[in-house]
Symmetry: C2
Subunit: 415 residues, 2 copies
Amino acid sequence: MAMKGNLIVGQSGGPTAVINSSLAGVIKASWKAGIRRIYGMHYGIEGLLQEDIVDIEDYITSGQDLSLLKRTPSAFLGTCRYKLPPVEGHEDVYEKIFDILDKKNIEFFLYNGGNDSMDTIKMLSDYAITHNKKQKFMGIPKTIDNDLPMTDHCPGYGSSAKYIATSMKEIIRDNESYGVSKPTICIVEIMGRHAGWLTATAALSKDIDCSGPDLIYLPEVTFDIDDFIARIKKLAETKKSIVVAVSEGLKTADGKFVCELGTVNDHVDAFGHKQLAGTASYLANRVTAETGLKSRYIEFSSLQRCASHLASRVDADEAYNVGYLAAEAAFNGETGKMITIEVKSREPYVETYNSFDIHEVANIERKVPKKWIINDGTYVSDEYLEYARPFIIGSIQPYTAGGLPTHLTMKKKRK
Amino acid sequence: MAMKGNLIVGQSGGPTAVINSSLAGVIKASWKAGIRRIYGMHYGIEGLLQEDIVDIEDYITSGQDLSLLKRTPSAFLGTCRYKLPPVEGHEDVYEKIFDILDKKNIEFFLYNGGNDSMDTIKMLSDYAITHNKKQKFMGIPKTIDNDLPMTDHCPGYGSSAKYIATSMKEIIRDNESYGVSKPTICIVEIMGRHAGWLTATAALSKDIDCSGPDLIYLPEVTFDIDDFIARIKKLAETKKSIVVAVSEGLKTADGKFVCELGTVNDHVDAFGHKQLAGTASYLANRVTAETGLKSRYIEFSSLQRCASHLASRVDADEAYNVGYLAAEAAFNGETGKMITIEVKSREPYVETYNSFDIHEVANIERKVPKKWIINDGTYVSDEYLEYARPFIIGSIQPYTAGGLPTHLTMKKKRK
């Protein structure tokens, strides 16, 4: 079967370790369906608006290429953070997009991202329906933040979880190695401004060979600094090594981000620029100031979203599947939907896939259920662990050369 | 052959990903020599002084245990930062140590660490000779800083290099993924207060599939902030993604650490504590203040010394070998020496081992040769890359359970 229309796929928002597995799924489904041209938006919708479009088969032509693509971190096509304006008053933007799509005979439009990206799918599919356009628009979920609704979890989350849990085990070991001197407090900062899904993964490190973090603070709960310091003091009475996982998005009762507290005096450096401390660095300083104990901080920073060398097999497979199924759904005439993951059984792990009306997904942020946050907001429950454990199972061994992982690059294959 | 005397081994200084491979080598050599009791200092010499001594065969009794030990990050026995005082005026300290050793019939004393630890071996072996003690003292090199003299390189360095180079490849990919908007400058901070060996490893990321960092700054060269900003501005004219590797130990011409510059106004927070910014965070703020460009910073922190999931095979094997050979040398009556690595050929890689008088090693810090620092102090040369490339070859796959690496813990095996 050969389709008449072409396909375009874009990647959007913060990259993940498996965002390219979804791209691989889209390409494979397109090959199977006999799509003539598989286009890629270079740097997402922002690139598309500048007609920066690539022909994916300039770079990827074989199953071997797909295997390396799956092992390549970050967005192969490039990404953007761009929210489409409302149609009213910005008809020109929409006309431009559809002109570009029509010019390239693009019938299938796939967009891989989080909340904002699903909003893009919603706006475009609504516009297509109301303006009688032929294009089909499908959303492919992706976010390390795991905050998309309607899906059990999001591709990208599992690999970040595996990175965080693996690193936490190693950090806890490292922190425990000094035992004779005074206790050392290590505060680890994890991404997630509004939802604590990623910070919760720190608890996965707890096992027979690892005590796990002592405290875990999610942004779903108001952060009480005095209570935090009191808990550290209490722990320090019996423990030499104290490790705490904190979300970058912690807020105090007055609504301020903890990471903003370090600049209360509006301190600016010699060049007029505020020195912003992170949440963990602020808290580490505060702990030392109030307890006299040694403290340090670790920020996982972008490593937690790009460490493809630690990608989870379950996560990579699911990312591939949602990409594949989104393309297939578009070929079957579906539009204005996002593929979702439903978990039929957690032990053994069995998942299945559905598609959901994009209006029920876009712009809605799902948070960690309050019932899963325990110990007065300082840990996550066994129910959370049962939920998350399957996502980090298995690994995708990188292909290596000279001891380092190799990645697929945008070097043209054919002329 | 069964030896009459017992052995004690200690780990000291900052942990590495392969410090336990050296411990495995010591244990294996001791088994082969028929040592009756293999003791471990719990938390290094500091623990020994408190008679905190463990019987290693309470935890490790088989080749399987040794395999898991090699895959376990950080110091299995615990570590310390403790410098022995001079003998004169502190005879009691030395008498106490030798009393403890005699009480346990310990004849062989092995210490695994960096400069300070080799000083410990020097002091103890000198004392033993001048006081007619039977004990033999051997040093096992270990430091991610790679700053020990007389040895081509130090066990621990290769695995940190592999972690840094792998992460740099992933970070550069991540930073390149935003392409339409303004350039983004990412500044990565790497350990090494006085020597730039570890920062130099960032250059290993450069390959056919990775452009590598744009600039690399080692502490061996005085850091000129104005020149740095000018280079960033120049790069930003043609590049969207700029990644810079900086050593935590960078100093300006007036001898100040860059990381101290963020507190020029003696800013203290509400609790009287200085907020110390790191080198990378200070420079990222400074870049944005002076260029208006987006910047971010990443600190590898203790991850670069504890990521055993990325341990290098060459490094782990060499760590094992220096441990094994140090024990064997002690059994053969050698004392006051450190095992060193000599590289016979880099391509193919062939190494051999020697032992060196500890007086030529202790307290001497080896820096990166000036001739290997090029481009006005902003990069490292191909000669450096040829030197370092063999150290990251191969990997030790972790044993895993539930998707995470498993580690050996101090749980007693026998009663």
